[in-house]
């Protein structure tokens, strides 16, 4: 089997990511994004980061994607397709992206960290290990993130609430 699993899954995620961007129907985009996130979950499993794999599966594929799908279906956009950007802008965007990827890969080529990834501690990404880290040195950020989620929740409710007529 060798390393072929990684390359196979990486190819799949690149293909699905391209489909997300270039699919005409936004619903198809969301479905391809779910597939992309699934391949990312496989990547986490391959890195032996099992906690992250489970969290990615639940949070991204479960919560966030359902939110996207709900909003897309709520807005009912199927009949009016999005007006296309002019071809020139599309080409310019793709060229800019190509330049970005060439620059990134070219600059990181000189770093040359080509040594293979070796997991020194096999239970690095397990729940036990990460929990100790999360409730030890990262205690304060962890609690603060709950505050962030709460404020986001309040903000989302406040934003989507229909404005009532001011009566007294």
């Amino acid at each position: 089997m060798g390393t072929s699993v990684f390359y196979f899954v990486a190819t799949l995620s690149v293909v699905f990511a391209l489909m997300v961007v270039f699919a005409k129907n936004p619903i198809h985009s969301v479905l391809y994004l779910i597939l992309t996130f699934f391949t990312f979950t496989v990547h986490y499993v391959l890195l032996n980061a099992q906690f992250l794999a489970v969290v990615n599966f639940i949070v991204y594929m479960g919560a966030i994607m359902v939110l996207f799908l709900f909003v897309l279906m709520l807005l009912n956009l199927n009949k009016d397709n999005e007006p296309n950007k002019s071809a020139l802008l599309k080409i310019v965007g793709i060229i800019a992206g190509g330049c970005l990827v060439v620059t990134l890969i070219g600059s990181l080529k000189s770093v040359a960290i080509a040594n293979p990834l070796v997991l020194k501690n096999p239970n690095l990404g397990l729940v036990e290990n990460l929990g100790k880290e999360l409730f030890g040195p990262f205690m304060l950020p962890f609690e603060l993130s709950s505050l962030l989620l709460l404020s986001a929740m309040v903000g989302a409710v406040l934003l989507t609430k229909k404005e009532e007529k001011a009566n007294g």
């Binding site: 089997m1 060798g2 390393t3 990684f6 995620s13 690149v14 990511a17 997300v20 961007v21 936004p26 985009s29 994004l33 992309t36 990312f40 990547h43 986490y44 890195l47 980061a49 906690f51 992250l52 969290v55 990615n56 949070v59 991204y60 966030i64 939110l67 996207f68 909003v71 807005l75 007006p83 599309k90 310019v92 793709i94 800019a96 992206g97 990134l104 890969i105 080529k109 960290i113 080509a114 293979p116 990834l117 997991l119 096999p122 690095l124 990404g125 290990n129 990460l130 880290e133 999360l134 040195p137 990262f138 993130s145 962030l148 989620l149 986001a152 929740m153 989302a156 934003l159 989507t160």
Partner: protein, 109 residues
């Protein structure tokens, strides 16, 4: 699970970097090319995910769990961001009957 990881040991870190750079660039291209606000949002998610995977790979490389804790925080942040962002999109749709971001160009003035 141990045997699964045995196979991974030969993947160089460089390939993770290249792969994540490609995914990140696809996200950037999506933001530049599309006009549907929700698809732009999904491209942003794609970029976030590329960075997450790279953080996890480097965490394994350095044998340091902090990187994976950071990924966890980024996921919490992404959830919050998506909730607020989608509600803003819903508001925009309610006010303009469209989620074409060109409608929003009046924000320029």
């Amino acid at each position: 699970m141990g045997s699964l990881f045995e196979n991974m040991q030969a993947v160089p870190l460089n390939h993770y970097i290249w792969f994540c750079a490609i995914i990140f660039t696809i996200g950037v291209v999506g933001v530049l090319v599309r006009r549907n606000a929700i698809v732009i949002f999904m491209s942003v998610e794609l970029m976030l995910n590329a960075v997450n995977l790279l953080l996890a790979a480097f965490s394994v490389h350095h044998n340091d769990p902090s990187g994976q804790v950071f990924v966890f925080f980024i996921m919490a942040l992404a959830a919050a961001e998506v909730a607020v962002g989608l509600s803003i999109i819903v508001m925009v749709y309610r006010n303009t009957q469209s989620i074409d971001i060109n409608v929003l160009n009046r924000l320029k003035w």
